[in-house]
Amino acid sequence: MSGLTRGVSRQDDVALVERCRRGDLGAFEELYRQHAGRLYSVAFRMVGNAADAEDLLQEIFLSAHRKLETFRGDSALGTWLYRLAVNLCLDYLRSRTGRAIQMTDALDDEPGLFDASSKGLAERTVTKMDLERALTQLPEGCRAAFVLHDIEGLEHREIADVMGIAEGTSKSQVHKARLRLRALLSR
């Protein structure tokens, strides 16, 4: 099953959005409770700190409320919200770093990652905390793809849809992230 559509039917989504459009705060709270946990996790892991992730989560839902009119039910509400969230996170990261996020699909610019002599993880223990720490050191583009795929469980086609990139680019970004994480965790 897709990482974005579990548990909620498209009809449920449309009905909930319709209630939200009518200004029903209770319905919007229901929508928030369904999706806030996963969106906050993504935001937190993409920006790397709680304060910015909270601001972003607020912005994601306020922006979603403003854009409810544009939700037609063509995609799952989860996909629609993820797209909004990831774009806002990437915008935020762009403004923070002052440069465009690289989304290349080649691994040629990764010298040393495939080097046979480079140290691997060998018998080293890798904890969740180690991985979370290393995650903050990844370039933003491949970090986003890795978070969505390996942590959130989205499929590459969903990531491609959410991030507006080719499916092949999503695959190579995730692979690049894993290689970088391996190098970071081997230190």
């Binding site: 705060l25 209770g26 937190f44 890795f146 994480l181 965790l185």
Partner: protein, 244 residues
Amino acid sequence: MSCTRSRKDIQELVDGTLGRIREAELRQHLDECPSCRALFDDLQRVRDVAATIEPIAPPDHVWLQIAGRLRQEGRVQDAPAPIAHRHQYVWLAIAAALVLAVGASLVVLIPRITDSPSVADRSGAGNSPAADAVQSGVDDLRKAEQLLQSGAAKLKEGLGSGEDALPPAVVATLESNLQILDQAITESGAALQKDPQNVAARTSLFDALQRKISLLQDTITLMNEMRKGNAAGVAQVVEGGNKS
């Protein structure tokens, strides 16, 4: 199979999307090449650990901020009827608690001010250290009262006439209670001016000022919680008000 091709296939094997024939070829290569084997094992471990990372729950206040912003921008209608009714009951409970608290205080305060003999009458001595402490406390309370009064007035001006505004019945109760307390403050102040040694008048003034400050503080807190749409915060203030 070459190591270059193997490394491309390793990615798909970790993702679980590699076809059976290529997987068999790759696995044969992995058995023969320690470097590619180590790479595969490591990437698989990274993926396995990542899959165990749990979602993080956002703090509760984020939803309250979102709801507050939506209300402020007029993008949502009033809360559903049951919640609105609940708020109304809450306000009635607050009003009742305030009436009881203020009413009881006046029963105690006013006779004490008018009937009590002064310290000078009883002892013929000057101000006691306790009386000086009361006078100093009264001065501090007067300052705090002025600040809170001005804060409450500004907050009240800032609130609209919609859902966030205090219901008229509650405003009336609050104003009536403030009037009663002001009357107690004026009367005990006058008694004190007439007889600066009247300890009962000082204590009553002190007490009435404390009650007024407490009432203003609760009002400000409640208006803030209402504006934020924080039902839990409102309930907490009410619970505190009922206990006092």
